[in-house]
Symmetry: C2
Subunit: 442 residues, 2 copies
């Protein structure tokens, strides 16, 4: 753990809400997002990068204009002011630390920059977001071993976890074009599926998905690029990882069951995947690094997936939660209710391992590329990170506090993902919500 | 078939080589590529779009400057002069036809533009290419039923073709970042594999791929975009398809066999895929449309994958060929030799069906997105579109004319894909080569 003064839990900000109990965005966090003010009339504002602080956004376009920065920091702020986070992501960890340090100094209690920067704050309630960066390629991994086991049982009762699972960080390519930011509604997809009891040779059915599901994931964003043909060793992975957000990988289970053999999921996944607006940097997460261990009796990772640093602190202690608000709850003014909670430290592979594996064959990753963690379920039955797990494949409906039941999602259901880090002696680091509502099929 | 005067086989060009016997690039073709002159010294030239004609490239940056175009054509040439083909792809078929018609008029024998455009020609031998457009997302389909059956037999002898194959155009997401242009060498990838005879529970091996293969594919480029949530009906697919190139989907068979369950191929495919530099437009291919039919007894496509237009002319009669030149052949000055030949009309699904299927769930496609056809093998044993098929999974080596044998590719092997259309009463339309050499593992 590379803890530095930026993690001091005693640090405070002149932005009062950064000290609010339970805030996701204290001065120790400082995640990046791409935003503009919501306009009721007139032309839309340009997108630019901001940093979350309490319930405010520090507008980095305005902050760059306000001046008072070193030449090095001003050069880093220039692309951010133009809405281009990828340019900073491309520069590796030293640039990130310089920027973090400068922004923290500017926002801390007693900063001489307060008078110049106070007018650069905008309430988060007054802004809308785009994706935080351009994602050229999106890879989805499968690191939730409890999810892989539970889902494997439904598809292959005798053989839930395939022989490669404990050796290969299983992953596949996702669709980048249909990544959308939190708050974007998603239409229920149409597609082919086989209803239960349809004979094997008979025609499939076609229509709106009947088994629509969410998946609770974290998404890691790539920082510095590697060239095609040049693997990144696990010890260098930190240079190439920028930060983390939440990812809801909406899934059409009936389409998936029918289409996925032999090349994997396709239309069951690419009708939309939701990302949270804020990217929490790897630097902000440093205090929550925990040892990476393997259960007794499990194989140790191959050498290219192993390092002392990864063993000592490759895993991350991040609390994860899914909440649902049905149309009926929304009409009644009832807030979303929690469906489950799990922790990212239970993932079977660490981010450094995913990055080393992804590039070991020479595959090139670019700044802003997204690595999904796969669904993060906990070890207990109520900790499934998808409805497929929580309802045992749709066989055991769950009952919500208002008496409604669900096997899979209904039109009008809103799903929210949340994540936060908490421990003694460290400031709470939150991710902000990742949410989306289901619209009827076209 | 929408044949128009642009397909008249009697048309000739003032560029003499466009009339050479066997040329890929007569005046009826006019494919687009992104190029610059090879510089031995001094700063590199900017990339710009050109059109192939005979053994020359018409430099569209120079041609735009030369003037003599209508305002409409000049507006279309402006992004092309800046190296941006995607902007024209985005506009749909009407813009493509306007441009084709203007370029053909300019290049045809007797054109008044000849004096102004003659200085805009550059010999293809003097240029280098980048990818013809920006490919944001790459989907690889699996439409070669003879390939799917042959490969299925190797993995699942009792059950070669899965029950969904004749209903679902099977596809999966590929990696866009590692798409490279013809001529780019590829390093043999390292990765995990299980050697034959390794017990199921034992550790996998790690090292350079031992079963490196090519795949003979066509790649279709998307034209006009569709918005997320808005499917494209099969009758509208033509508006959204820009053209075709060749695609070699290099494949590491040993990595693939170990990693592909349950989410599909990943590191076995994303270490590099090669595209030919030229995109042959759908307009140039019109004379080679042929009826789409299903074998007796096979199910008819579901309604969203069926149309009268698709039945009448949804398939394309394109000859495909793979050639190999080993390092030993190269040293001896021997040219590449053909390994197999097949025809794209044997594909089980048409391009219009792929586009309708890909978007039926609301997935959004963007201009320049790539749809791989999957490996195009013919029905006969010697028509496998990969070594996996030609050597029965590496069990029966093939012998080359110089006496060398191959099961899979060796370092120094160059693989070339070729494609062309020929029939009575139409000009020959060729694709130019798609080639790549294998370098040793790092």
């Amino acid at each position: 753990m590379l803890l530095d003064p930026s993690h001091d839990p005693a640090l405070t900000s002149w932005v009062a809400s950064a000290q609010a109990v339970g805030t996701d965005f204290p001065i120790q966090n400082l995640p990046y997002g791409c935003f503009r003010r919501i306009r009721r009339a007139g032309p839309a504002e340009p997108w630019r990068i901001g940093v979350a602080i309490g319930d405010q956004v520090l507008d980095l376009a305005a902050a760059a204009q306000a001046g008072g920065w070193s030449a090095e920091v001003a050069a880093l702020l220039a692309p951010l002011a133009a809405g281009n986070l990828n340019a900073v992501m491309a520069q590796g960890s030293a640039a990130r630390r310089v920027l973090r340090s400068a922004l923290q100094a500017a926002l801390k209690t007693g900063s001489a920059q307060q008078p110049a920067l106070a007018p650069c704050l905008i309430a988060q309630a007054d802004v809308e977001f785009s994706l935080p960066c351009t994602v050229h390629d999106y890879t989805d991994f499968y690191t939730g071993i409890h999810h892989a086991t539970a889902v494997g049982k439904l598809f292959r009762p005798d053989n839930p976890l395939l022989p490669n699972y404990k050796w290969v960080p299983i992953g596949y390519h996702g669709r980048a074009s249909s990544l959308v930011v939190s708050g974007t509604p998603i239409r229920r997809p149409n597609g082919q599926f086989k209803l239960p009891g349809t004979p094997e040779g008979a025609a499939p059915d076609f229509g709106p998905c009947r088994r629509l599901d969410y998946e609770l994931e974290l998404g890691a964003y790539v920082g510095r690029a590697n060239a095609l043909g040049e693997p990144v060793a696990i010890g260098q992975a930190g240079e190439h990882l920028f930060g983390l957000g939440l990812l809801n990988d909406w899934s059409a289970r009936d389409l998936q069951a029918w289409e996925y053999q032999p090349l994997g999921p396709f239309l069951s996944k690419n009708f939309g995947s939701v990302l949270s607006p804020w990217i929490v940097t790897m630097e902000a997460l440093e205090p929550f690094r925990v040892p990476f261990t393997r259960p007794e009796g499990d194989p140790q990772p191959l050498p290219y997936l192993d390092s002392a640093e990864n063993r000592a602190g490759g895993a991350l202690d991040i609390q994860l939660q899914v909440r649902i608000q049905t149309a009926q709850m929304r009409a009644a003014g009832e807030p979303a209710v929690a469906l489950m909670q799990s922790n990212y430290r239970d993932a079977y592979w660490t981010l450094a391992q995913l990055l080393a594996h992804h590039t070991v064959n020479g595959c090139n990753l670019n700044p802003g590329d997204l690595l999904g963690s796969g669904t993060q379920s906990g070890p207990q039955p109520g900790q499934g990170g998808s409805l497929l797990e929580l309802t045992s494949g749709g066989k055991q409906p769950i009952t919500l506090p208002n008496g409604e039941t669900r096997t899979f999602l209904q039109d009008g259901d809103t799903v929210e993902l949340h994540a936060w880090c908490e421990r003694e002696g460290a400031a709470r680091i939150g991710f902000g919500p990742c949410s989306g509502v289901i619209l009827p099929a076209p």
